[in-house]
């Protein structure tokens, strides 16, 4: 089921076009990566989804309806530029932000206590935000983003500013939210995290969408028929190559030889049987392009 879709969104600012007929579809219960270099128009699209700005053209649908003001209660947004009131107490502030998302005060308090306990930060409740470290503030802000149990969560560069331990904690939380049925739009240029958590992506460059689809499909589309073959290093792969197979590179380890081969479609079986006839096959796997490679390739081909 499609939870969110944007059709032909365009937005022009005074001297530049921020978005040019961008369309995306986000399936319910998936993590959708919104990728693109700086200034591509990601933040503009996110602000349009959050109804912070309006598009010049195009339509947006959320839960089967045209996007309307009440939908902000079903959306949680963690902006890239994060911030809280410095002089306000943590608990008070979290309740305030929850109230603005339409949660009753008592309810907000109950939910906050659950999350604060989960993150082991209950002792911060009465402390002022300015007394907390940046990482601590990020945790608080993350909780305020998800507290109203939104159907759609939008994270803009969520991992920036987190140390590796907390980043991992955050990643687990995101996957946890997904498993509970939340849909997540996740904007980043950190491709490693995209590999780990995204189901599908859209790549925006210079205000246009240049690539989108499920991660698996995209990887298939960009694959170069390359395989990694590992054999014991008594034998050299050079002597085992069959027709339609090209050796890209290879190196020896103390006991094995690791090679990268480019194999034409349908020539795998021949190669494999030749290897197996002559030596042992330790491992054999297809090398799929990383998102990083796809990103760089696509953007620089533009």
């Amino acid at each position: 089921m499609i939870l969110f879709s944007a059709k032909d969104i365009s937005k022009t600012y005074a001297n530049h076009k921020a978005l040019d007929k961008v369309s995306i579809e986000v399936e319910q219960g998936t993590v959708f990566g919104l990728l693109g270099p700086n200034g591509a128009g990601k933040t503009t699209l996110i602000r349009i989804i959050n109804q912070i700005t309006a598009p010049d053209e195009g339509e947006i649908f959320f839960m089967g309806e045209k996007l309307k003001a009440e939908h902000v209660h079903s959306i949680g947004y963690l902006p890239e530029e994060r911030g809280l009131y410095k002089k306000m107490k943590v608990g008070e502030q979290a309740i305030y932000l929850a109230e603005l998302k339409g949660i009753k005060k008592a309810d907000a308090k109950k939910r906050l206590e659950f999350w604060f306990a989960k993150f082991d930060i209950l002792s911060w409740w009465d402390r002022k935000v300015e007394e907390l470290s940046k990482g601590m503030q990020q945790k608080v802000q993350f909780i305020t983003t998800i507290l109203h149990e939104p159907k759609l969560l939008i994270f803009d560069e969520p991992f920036s500013g987190f140390d590796p331990i907390n980043a991992n904690l955050l990643k687990q939380e995101i996957l946890d939210l997904k498993s509970k049925g939340a849909t997540i739009i996740f904007s980043t240029h950190n491709m490693e995290s995209v590999e780990e958590i995204c189901d599908s992506i859209a790549l925006i460059n210079k205000s246009k969408k240049i690539l989108d689809g499920k991660m698996i499909d995209i990887k298939q589309r960009f694959k170069k028929n390359q395989f990694e073959v590992v054999i014991p290093n008594q034998k050299n792969i050079k002597h085992l190559l069959t027709e339609g197979v090209e050796l890209i590179s290879s190196f020896d380890t103390p006991h094995t030889q690791v090679s990268t081969l480019k194999i034409e479609q349908g020539k795998n079986a021949e190669l494999l049987s030749n290897i197996l006839l002559n030596t042992d096959l330790i491992s054999y796997k297809e090398i799929l392009p990383s998102m990083n490679e796809i990103f760089i390739e696509t953007v620089s081909n533009e």
Binding site: N15, N50, I52, T53, Y77, E81, Y96, L100, T144
Partner: protein, 449 residues
């Protein structure tokens, strides 16, 4: 709760709980009460008396009857009482013993009439006004002497001559009331200045709060929950409520303070009996001791002035112009706050707003000098200066059509400024790390909301 309500509540409570709010709340009434009370204490303090011993060397004794030009001629008043002696050394001893505050020696000379006087004192030099009063009494006595002996004036003529009983009072032609220009000047200046201060103080708070939210970056989270215009309006309204709370607390607390003081000194704070006492005061004051009593008369007039003002009109106008001026400037300050960022130069945006405020302030004397003149008229019609300037004019009386015109222009202009501010605000708050120019702001008006 409605979302604007949530915004207002938070903004209001955080401000009211601040220490600075508490301090201002208690300092204000003390200032106000002292402004009200000072005239009364001035009236009271002028009653501290100095005793002066007059030693007259020109005194001659004829058949046991002492006579001199000056004997028994000095007039006692609130500040000075006179007694007479003959021996200067004895007098100086008495002065040192503290029986008298000053000794006035009139020296025997060959001049006729004798006109040299010395004033001695021990502890404190007599005040300038007391010295001036003594000098003027000496002059008057001499003048009377000349008039009687050289020009043959009778005592009765002399009395008329010294007290021509020419009264001068200014009256408001419409209400028939006395004009009390001094107290109106004070009241007008005070309320004009108060509005100026409130605009700067609370308008500045709107600006600060908006720019804080922007530099904090919390604003992006907020506007993902509510519309930017709601956020701005909530802020402006809540700060207005803070201002009103403070104002009401000031009025109530100063009322309590003044009432408390009145019950301590019941006599001091009653309205002087105008027709009789003032006129009588005048009769005394315009005579030979002119300088001293007239100041007491002025104080009395000020006190009367306090009772003569149409407070209902002044207060209702004050509330209108206070709120209108605030909403006008607060929305502009809010827009400016949205343009500020850590590294932007805010000066270029605050200046156009503060200039009209400062112009209004600088024109206070011109307006007070001629409250219905051309400058006063135009400045009280132009919405940017009207809140302050009109408040100065109100106590002096302003034609109804002028007030109506000024008020309606105010309302129209506020609507315009809020529209303007909303446009600037919603774009400005999300512009990070960018130097914003006027040219760019102009383009924002074309953006779709």
């Amino acid at each position: 709760m409605n979302k604007i309500g949530i915004i207002i509540r938070r903004e209001y409570l955080t401000r009211v709980k601040k220490k600075s709010f508490l301090v201002m709340t208690f300092l204000g009434p003390i200032l106000i009460a002292s402004l009200w009370i000072i005239p009364f204490f001035l009236a009271m303090n002028s009653e501290t008396q100095s005793k002066v011993l007059v030693v007259d060397e020109t005194l001659v004794e004829n058949n046991g009857v002492k006579s001199s030009l000056y004997l028994e001629k000095f007039k006692n008043d609130k500040e000075l009482t006179f007694e007479y002696g003959y021996d200067i050394t004895e007098a100086q001893n008495k002065l040192e013993n503290g029986k008298y505050d000053a000794v006035l020696e009139i020296v025997k000379t060959n001049d006729m009439p004798p006109i040299k006087g010395f004033l001695f004192y021990s502890e404190n030099e007599p005040s300038l006004s007391a010295q001036e009063a003594i000098r003027s009494q000496l002059t008057n006595i001499l003048k009377d002497h000349v008039l009687v002996y050289d020009y043959g004036m009778t005592e009765k003529d002399l009395e008329w001559f010294n007290n021509p009983k020419i009264g001068f009072y200014s009256k408001d032609i419409r209400s028939g009331k006395d004009s009390y220009k001094e107290i109106k000047t004070i009241l007008g200046t005070m309320s004009g200045f108060l509005i100026y201060m409130f605009i700067f103080l609370f308008g500045g708070q709107v600006m600060k709060s908006v720019s804080e939210e922007k530099t904090n970056r919390i604003v992006e989270v907020l506007v993902s929950s509510i519309k930017p215009i709601q956020l701005l309006m909530g802020k402006i309204v809540s700060i207005a409520l803070v201002g009103l709370t403070q104002f009401i607390l000031w009025v109530v607390l100063s009322g309590i303070l003044i009432a408390g003081l009145q019950s301590f000194y019941p006599q001091t704070f009653t309205e002087p009996q105008k027709e009789n006492i003032t006129i009588n005061e005048r009769v005394i004051s315009v005579d030979k001791i002119d300088n001293i009593s007239s100041s007491a008369g002025e104080v009395n007039q000020m006190v009367q002035g306090l009772f003569s003002i149409d407070y209902a009109l002044v207060i209702s106008m004050f509330l209108f112009y206070f709120m209108a001026g605030y909403f006008l400037y607060a929305s502009l300050f809010g827009a400016v706050g949205a343009l500020m960022d850590v590294d932007t130069d805010a000066q270029q945006f605050t200046l156009p707003i503060t200039i009209p405020l400062i112009i209004a302030m600088l024109c206070f004397p011109i307006i007070l000098n001629d409250p219905s003149g051309t400058v006063a008229f135009w400045l009280s019609i132009i919405p940017l200066t009207a809140p302050m300037v009109m408040m100065i004019r109100i106590p002096f009386g302003v034609p109804v059509w002028e007030i109506a015109l000024s008020m309606s222009l105010m309302i129209i202009f506020i609507a315009f400024c809020m529209w303007l501010a909303a446009k600037i605000y919603r774009t400005g708050i999300l512009m990070y790390g960018k130097n914003i120019t006027y040219k760019e702001i102009w383009k924002w008006f074309k953006y779709k909301n």
